[in-house]
Symmetry: C2
Subunit: 400 residues, 2 copies
Amino acid sequence: MFSKIKHGIWALGAFFMLNTTSAQEALFGAQEIKSPEIHADNSVTFRFMAPKADSVKLTGDFLPTIKIQTQFGPMDAPGPVHLSKDDKGLWSFTSQVLSPELYSYSFEVDGVKVTDPNNPFLIRDVASVTNIFIIGGGHADLYKVNDIPHGTVAKRWYDSPGLKMDRRLTVYTPPGYESSTDEYPVLYLLHGAGGDEEAWSDLGRTAQIMDNLIASGKAKPMIVVMPNGNISQDAAPGKGSDGFYKPQFMAPGTMQGSYETNFMDIVKFTESNYRVKADKAHRAIAGLSMGGFHSMHISRYHANVFDYVGLFSAAIMPRENAAGLDVYSDIDGTLQTQMDNGLELYYIAIGKTDFLFNANKEFRKKLDDMGMEYEYLETDGGHIWRNWRVYLSEFAPKLF
Amino acid sequence: MFSKIKHGIWALGAFFMLNTTSAQEALFGAQEIKSPEIHADNSVTFRFMAPKADSVKLTGDFLPTIKIQTQFGPMDAPGPVHLSKDDKGLWSFTSQVLSPELYSYSFEVDGVKVTDPNNPFLIRDVASVTNIFIIGGGHADLYKVNDIPHGTVAKRWYDSPGLKMDRRLTVYTPPGYESSTDEYPVLYLLHGAGGDEEAWSDLGRTAQIMDNLIASGKAKPMIVVMPNGNISQDAAPGKGSDGFYKPQFMAPGTMQGSYETNFMDIVKFTESNYRVKADKAHRAIAGLSMGGFHSMHISRYHANVFDYVGLFSAAIMPRENAAGLDVYSDIDGTLQTQMDNGLELYYIAIGKTDFLFNANKEFRKKLDDMGMEYEYLETDGGHIWRNWRVYLSEFAPKLF
């Protein structure tokens, strides 16, 4: 048979060419255009082929900011820039030299927002999908997959008796976990509104950050549990029994106390399914925005469970208890109890232009007034993933 | 503090609105348009807002096929259809009633291929990203996340002494694996050219298919190991130490024998890291296209290791050995040895219009001539994921 087909059309060349010109490719034919192209000096060229378009703009979190109007007054936002068109209809724009970071961007073609067809690396934030790229160096090297030992990232389901459903979570176990007999500490890492159990691993690059911090000896090997904080979901949009639907910023029933009261379901699951040090000294909880809100409330409601608490751009705000719950009652008293019980680290990080800056400032004053110690990190920038990756990178080395 | 901010602008409403109109949203502002909309009769409406466009087309694998010209003659491909524009610039198209299936699609706006900004569910196939949706019912219910026990999907790294690198793979462990003391059988499931360790879990919906088959008692609980068959990569594009780059159809060094000779690295890793039945009767290997090629060669080269072999649209074709390797030598003799050693199932599946149909027909004749038994499934359609999901759904129940 093989001698026969060797001279037929089914040799490798044909296989290769037929596949690349197959129905799939004819359907979705990718253009042979390089975008983004990262130059040696870390300027970046973006390209988009659109011969018939009148206007192609680029938006991205690396562009100089402009003032935009919102109902609460002016806010800073990266301003869109115009690409230039060549005689073949290829539009391009070259950025200024960019500092190390994971950036995201998209195009706007005649007013229509589109992703870059030449860059298959995308992340979803709530319902928006954007392209990403990394400028290496400095802290951005923590976001890269380097040639070092890697942990395992598992998508797993746990039974929540409190919420009466099987729910999905993401678990990072550090390099060597499977072959070791050691017991490990655990960081519970919570997402913000609009996020889910995919957010920290995808947008937050948790596995890459932890692998890199652990390999360099800057963080201790630890397990990171990333649950889903939307009590109406069993899993992220598209990953659960609700099927495919357009994700919303706030899922129904969110931030009414049920997640906080039932959080020990997740702790119990983790401690009975992983080789962990199951004591307060080896438990940390941290979260961003709504996850910072959750971390603050969970850690004082379960006031002797966590020795480390991290609030990243935390959504410090009043909330109403759902019927039958009293999570948000007696906040001052339970914070006092949490302080009296003792804890190793209470950590607050926020950006100077975060819309929650003042709320966090008031919260810090409250802690100051009651004599509760905390570490505080104030950065540039606002309520953005760029900051949350930095906060995780700063917080994790302080643990355990 | 709380009474103070309760009356300030930082109450929940402001938090919600500021976030939804935040810089991120201002940047990438999602349109409030429903697309795709699946109607009660399973027709589907697609919508795209593009007031300035002259033409918006839809391409998708559910559209009636037309003949397209390739260098090897005419091929069937789903034909693009034109959307209609309303007076607000919203383009729309409603399909005919669709049968149950996981479908993919994208738009073409004035000649530019773009994804649907209103559908955040995307899959990457080689370098192309397309939107997906599911029409439920029949076999397509196997692709849904149903309210049944779920297995765990882990992205894990193993050491390959043969290929001299740490490499990433995907491992599905069935529901109950973690709490059980049972030993499980293992299916090694291999991707095609252009794929990687993400292909079967993302495009192939392996976890959903296995969860559903196991829950209904149609397949035995088993572990499914999905490795990366491109020997030049440590991981899928964007997931490994090569960083972000545009994926190619054929990675360097692919299909020259190294993967086959070193495959036992993966078997040894699996059998020393998971609770498995480590014998021939509890090992299966199957793959699509290049993965079918790999499965055929691996299973006869390691001629007494696997009791179950599945070739899905297998790339049966001659190949040259890399220097120092003789994997592709004495194919007839090693197939004879594999047959003489005995095996439970040799399974071949292919579509009638697959460009590899004739090569598989010749291979079946070879097996017929040597008296090797096999099961054979012939379906409609060609070299497409739709078929490979069906073949896995048919093959898995026959195992163990």
